[in-house]
Symmetry: C2
Subunit: 401 residues, 2 copies
Amino acid sequence: MKFGGTSLADLDRIRHVAGLVKRESSRGHEVAVVVSAMAGETNKLIAWTRDLSPLHDAGEQDAVVATGEQVTAGLLAIALSANGVSARSWQGWQVPVQTNATHGAARIESIDPALLNTRFAAGEVAVITGFQGVAPGNRISTLGRGGSDTSAVAIAAAVQADRCDIYTDVDGVYTTDPRIVAKARRLERIAFEEMLEMASLGAKVLQTRSVEIAMLHGVPVRVLSTFEPDGSGTLVCDEEDIVEKKSVTGIAYSRDEAKITLHRIPDKPGVAAAIFGPLADAGVNVDMIVQNVSEDGKKTDLTFTVSRTQLHRALEAIEKAAPAIGYRDVTHDASVAKISIVGIGMRTHPGVAQIMFGTLADKGINIEVISTSEIKVSVLIAEEYVELAVRALHAAYEMDA
Amino acid sequence: MKFGGTSLADLDRIRHVAGLVKRESSRGHEVAVVVSAMAGETNKLIAWTRDLSPLHDAGEQDAVVATGEQVTAGLLAIALSANGVSARSWQGWQVPVQTNATHGAARIESIDPALLNTRFAAGEVAVITGFQGVAPGNRISTLGRGGSDTSAVAIAAAVQADRCDIYTDVDGVYTTDPRIVAKARRLERIAFEEMLEMASLGAKVLQTRSVEIAMLHGVPVRVLSTFEPDGSGTLVCDEEDIVEKKSVTGIAYSRDEAKITLHRIPDKPGVAAAIFGPLADAGVNVDMIVQNVSEDGKKTDLTFTVSRTQLHRALEAIEKAAPAIGYRDVTHDASVAKISIVGIGMRTHPGVAQIMFGTLADKGINIEVISTSEIKVSVLIAEEYVELAVRALHAAYEMDA
């Protein structure tokens, strides 16, 4: 069971969470609970470290920030004991959750389940600090934003849990954002690969890395609401456990997109390397890429997308590399958005993309860039059409409730 | 260097402390800094644990409360780095500071200085969490209230420091409480044994246990103000390093006193055991004891003192043991106070106590109980005379500035 910061925001909510844990425990399950810091706490601590020094040691920030989960883990263990449930708290270094040395964005390298398993056998609930581990040299590390989901799934995998329940402030994964489409439906099940695409395409319910780990280790993940705990939530599972494979399971969107076009670049080998090499060196992640067919066999245009926060950095890198690339001019547009349809059924249902293109055309929405994978189609459109496009697609794929 | 919670209460004060540490470091000293939690933080965390459960697991409370020093240690390390001082934070378990398993009031059993010494040699300042260590089984323990002083002195002993500087909100140890005696003087030096008596007799500037460790290991301790760091403070040192041994170095007082008298107890062997056995079993600390001379050889009165917070528990224990003791009746008085004069010179200056008794008699103050050791005389008086008595004694022993 994993609980986020809003689920643990004050003592009353911690008591409520203790009740949920007790319910699982009294059903005869062995339970590990992974907790985030109280809502707002991590931001407060990070702001302090930045105030003292903008270029501070990431290891020290980790030592400061990791206290947030230590507090909630200890408090929840106390609330459980007060409820008659045998429990103790575990910090990352106590388990231990071993990570690499990339402080602030560490990756879990191994989790030793031996101590936890001994305590489960003795009937004890383990309350474990999420988001953190111990780096080489015995220093505290943190996994970066949203890392508690990753902790929870990794621990579930390590103790070979039957399931990892992620309690959050929504009651499951929806066909699309219910704030845009009132008729969006909660999914009973979604395949790991679909969830992975949905998460990386903008659906914020689960952290991408946590879904990767769940898929790799085959840990079923259930997303459900702390505040409506009797709902069945959404089960993220192997596609073999999904009977009816829809062509489109969900629609994701992202406004964090910007488009850059290089005009009149030489149409010759090596030009792509001349463009994307400097961007990679500058730490810019390029998402979609489209190159026009050259009309004269000599010059062409190339368009690619980056996240809006990286737009400025990308333009700088491109301008620095101008002599090597040899473009006429560069234009950019930050008022674009990406709409994606995702579904494992696409593999076997031809014509799925065609419905998307036709629907958008009917609404007069121009598609600027297209990118596809085996189980998704993404298109770049003008940002102003996001709501219109998502609603039209939701209806076109017969997903409306 | 040890800094308490008021010295680290906000980011500006942490920056100020970083400046003080930098000054020591740039003088060429190898520096270990021991920090408390931000003022108020420990109380807030303890209140949370109590709110969740009055009878909570002390180990969990320790895990929660220990976060307070983790935050200040990390923040101070960041502030030092921002100041150009190479520094890193150390939590109790990282040093490690090994304690026993008495969570909430743990005793330090050993400190391994090897890692710290390696870092000193590399020119790095160690910022260490006070008040905490690691108990058997790798769980976090805390030393109990005021434990950061103890941590500081124990770490100073472990790394064989030349001196342990305790930075606090007063600029040294005074002849007596300056709030009562305006003419109280800051002492340049005070012997370990004198400080130990002063601390246990009610002077709150240093925790008793920290003075014991300093005396045991011969670590000179300097008490000075964070906010007036150019003062010379007070050096707590071996009495051999004090040239002029005054008969009375300081006057301490405590209002946390209560007196219990058992009337008409049998004057026979075993009666003391019948009284103080049950009190010890109830966890009551008895301080002063006086037994009157029996007039008839059969019955006598016995008076003893306890702290006011333990008065109720003491009376309960006495009443329960009434049949075994066999007293006629019991009276008590919680409006008493203890005044003590302390000085290593007493050993060689006869007549010191006589000045005390005479001075109090001149002021019409009745002495209810007397207790003495080699270097102190304590008397119990009515609480209303505390200020009068302390001022009169301060003048009588020629301590006025």
